[in-house]
Subunit: 217 residues, 2 copies
Amino acid sequence: MTKQERATRTRDALIKSAAREFDQHGYTLAKLSAISAGAGVSPGALHFHFDNKAAIATAVESEATTALRRTARIVYRQGSNALQNLADTSHSLARLLREDIVVRAGFRLSCSRGSRTDLNLRQEWQSCVQQRLAEAADEGLLAAGHGGQQDVVRTVVASTVGLEALCRDNDEWLSPDTVTSLWRTLLPMLAAPGTLAGLEPAGSSTVPAPRAHAPVG
Amino acid sequence: MTKQERATRTRDALIKSAAREFDQHGYTLAKLSAISAGAGVSPGALHFHFDNKAAIATAVESEATTALRRTARIVYRQGSNALQNLADTSHSLARLLREDIVVRAGFRLSCSRGSRTDLNLRQEWQSCVQQRLAEAADEGLLAAGHGGQQDVVRTVVASTVGLEALCRDNDEWLSPDTVTSLWRTLLPMLAAPGTLAGLEPAGSSTVPAPRAHAPVG
C-alpha cells in the first residue's frame, strides 16, 4: 500500500467515525478525541487531515451529498415515467439514509447547520420533487381535480420530509414498507386514472441498490 | 401584588425567556445567565425557581404540553365530524406552534429530549391522528379503495410532522395557507365521495383561536 493509499484510507475511516459520533451525540457534543479513537488513529493523525470539528463535519456533509446526488441521478437515468421515478428516487434515498451512517449523519448536519453553510439537502429534495412533478404534468400523468400543482408539491415534500424526521425516533419510518405505504396513498391521488395501473408504489424492480459506504470494522 | 403573585409572574417570565433561548440556541448551548437576563431577574431568582437547565426545560415542555392538549380538547368538543375535526385540530396546533414561543420551544424539546423523558408530543399527535381516523371509519366517512387505514394514518402523520420539520427553516410551512394546501390534497383522498363537499380544508370557522402566551415585554 502506497503512502497516498494509506492517507486516503485513514481519511475515510475518520469520516465514518465522525459520522457515527455526530449521529449519536449531535454536532455540538461530538468529541474529536472520540472520532480519532473510533477510527483507530492518533489525535495527531486527525489534525493532519482536518483542522477542526467544522472541517470534518463539512467532509461528512460532502460525502453524503455526493452519495445522495449520485443515487438520484442513477434512478433518473432508469427512464421510468416521472411519477414512478419520483417514487423510485424516494425509495433509493430512504435506503441510503437507513443503511449508510455517513449519508444519514451528513444529511442531518446539512439540515441543522443549514443556515451556516450553503448546503441544504432538504431544499435539494424539494427541488427534485418539484421538477419530477412538473415533468409528470408535461407527460400528462397527473390527475385533474386536486387543488393545483403547488398543493401536490407541498404534500409530497412534507410527507417525505416527515418520514425522515420521524425516523429519528423510530427506524421503521424509513423502511421499504412505510415508504410503500406512502406511495400507495399518494399515487392514486396524483396519477391520472389511465396511468395508475402501471405504477408500482413499492418501486420499480429495475432500480439498483445504492452503493453504501462499507461499515467500519 | 402579593408575594405569591410576584413569584408566579417571575416564574412565567423565566419560562418565556427560556423558551426564547432554547428556540434560538437549542438545549445544549442555552445559557442560564441569558435566561435570567432575558426575564429581567437575577441569577439567584432563577435558582430560587429552578434547580438547573433540565428543570427549566421540563417546565417549558410542561407548559407546551398543557397548551397543545387543551387546544386539541377544545377543537374535539366542537363536534364536527371526525375528518373535519382532524383538519381543524392541525390548523389550531399549527397556529399555536407558529405564534407561541413557549409551545414551539417545548414541542421541539420534547421531540429532541424524547429518549430522556417520558414525554414525546410527536407520538401524542400520532395517537390523535390514529384515533380521529378510526372514528372517521366508524362514522362511514372514509373512502374505500385506498391502501388500508394504516397507510392513511402513516401519510397524515408523516405529512403533518413534515410541515413542522420544514418550518424550522422557513415559517411559511406552518402558515394557514400551507396547512390548507395539505388538506386540499389529502381530504379528497381520505373522504368518501358523499362526505367531501361538506369538508373545509381551511378549517371550520367555528374553531376558536388558541389562547397564546402573551409576549414578554
